[in-house]
Amino acid sequence: MGIFDRTTKGQVTPAIEVTLERGALQFFAETIGETDPIYLNPKAAQAAGHPDILAPATYAVVVGTLADQQARRAGQPDILARINGDLRVLLHGTESYTYHGPMYANDTVQVENEITDFTDAKGGALEIAHITTRILHPTRGLLVEASRSLIHRLPEEDSP
C-alpha cells in the first residue's frame, strides 16, 4: 500500500489563528523579487487606499505553513504529519487559489485545513493527497481558499 495515512480523509483541522507580520511579508515580497511598493512600503500602500502592505498572491501558502508551525508549537500534528507525508519522495503536484478579499499586514486570520481525498495515478506509481485550506478573517469573512495536491513517488515495494 501507499505511504499516506488514508484514514485521515475527511478530517478538518481545528482553526488556527495566524497574524500576518509586516516584516515577514516584506521579507517574502523581497525574496520573490517583488518591486511594487504596495507590497513593501506601508506609506505607499496607504496612499493607494490600503490599510497596510498587501500580501502577494501566493502568500496564502505561507499562511498555511505558519498555521502548521503554530500547530506543532501547540503539540498538535501539522498537516504533513497528519497524512504521513514523506519528504524524501514528496512532490508538489498542483496549487490553486480562489480570492475573495485581500490579506494585509497585521491581519489576524483563522486557518483551517481539510483533507479532502487521496487518489492514485500512473498505475499506482504515484499517490496523491488533496488538501483544501481556508483563510478566514473575523469581520471580512473568507479571504482565500487554497487547494493543493501533494504527490508521493512510491518505491516499487510501497505501490498499492
Binding site: T31, T58, L87
Partner: protein, 140 residues
C-alpha cells in the same frame, strides 16, 4: 499601447517576466521567507540521500512569479483565481520566464472576467509550470 484587463482581447499576451538565475542563496532565502523548510530544496546531503543529484527550487517560488506576472499587469484587486500544475523540477541556476495569454473573455454574474493561460519555462526550454488565472475585467 499596452493592453489592460478592461481592453484585453482573446489572444493578447502579457508582458513576460523573468526571474533568476535561481541560486542556492535564493533557495535559502525562500525557505526562510516562506517557512517551507523542506530540506530537499536547501540541504544537498538530504537531496542526495533521497536519490537526487542536487537540491532543486521550490515550485512555489516559480508560482510566486506567475502571481507577479498577473498582479503587476492587472493589479491584485482584479485577481480572482490563480492555479498551477508543477510539471518539471526547476534546477539550481535556472532562469524562469513567465508568460500569459488571454484565452477567454466572458460575463458571469454581471461581471466581465478574463481567463489567462500561464506558463513558466526555464532556459533549456523545459516547461516547469502550467497555470491559469481568472482576472476581473469590468471597468472600474
Amino acid at each position: 499601447m499596452s493592453i489592460t484587463p478592461t481592453t484585453a482581447k482573446v489572444g493578447d499576451t502579457l508582458p513576460p517576466l523573468t526571474f533568476g538565475p535561481i541560486s542556492r542563496t535564493t533557495l535559502a532565502l525562500y525557505a526562510g521567507a516562506s517557512g517551507d523548510h523542506n530540506p530537499i530544496h536547501i540541504d544537498l546531503d538530504f537531496a542526495r540521500n533521497a536519490g537526487m543529484d542536487d537540491v532543486f527550487a521550490h515550485g512555489m517560488l516559480s508560482m510566486a512569479q506567475l502571481g507577479r506576472l498577473v498582479t503587476n499587469w492587472a493589479g491584485q484587486d482584479r485577481l480572482r483565481g490563480l492555479s498551477s500544475r508543477f510539471t518539471a523540477i526547476t534546477p539550481v541556476g535556472a532562469t524562469v520566464t513567465c508568460t500569459g495569454t488571454v484565452t477567454n473573455r466572458f460575463e458571469q454574474h454581471g461581471r466581465v472576467l478574463l481567463t489567462l493561460k500561464l506558463a513558466a519555462h526555464i532556459d533549456d526550454g523545459t516547461q516547469t509550470l502550467r497555470g491559469e488565472a481568472k482576472v476581473c475585467a469590468t471597468p472600474s
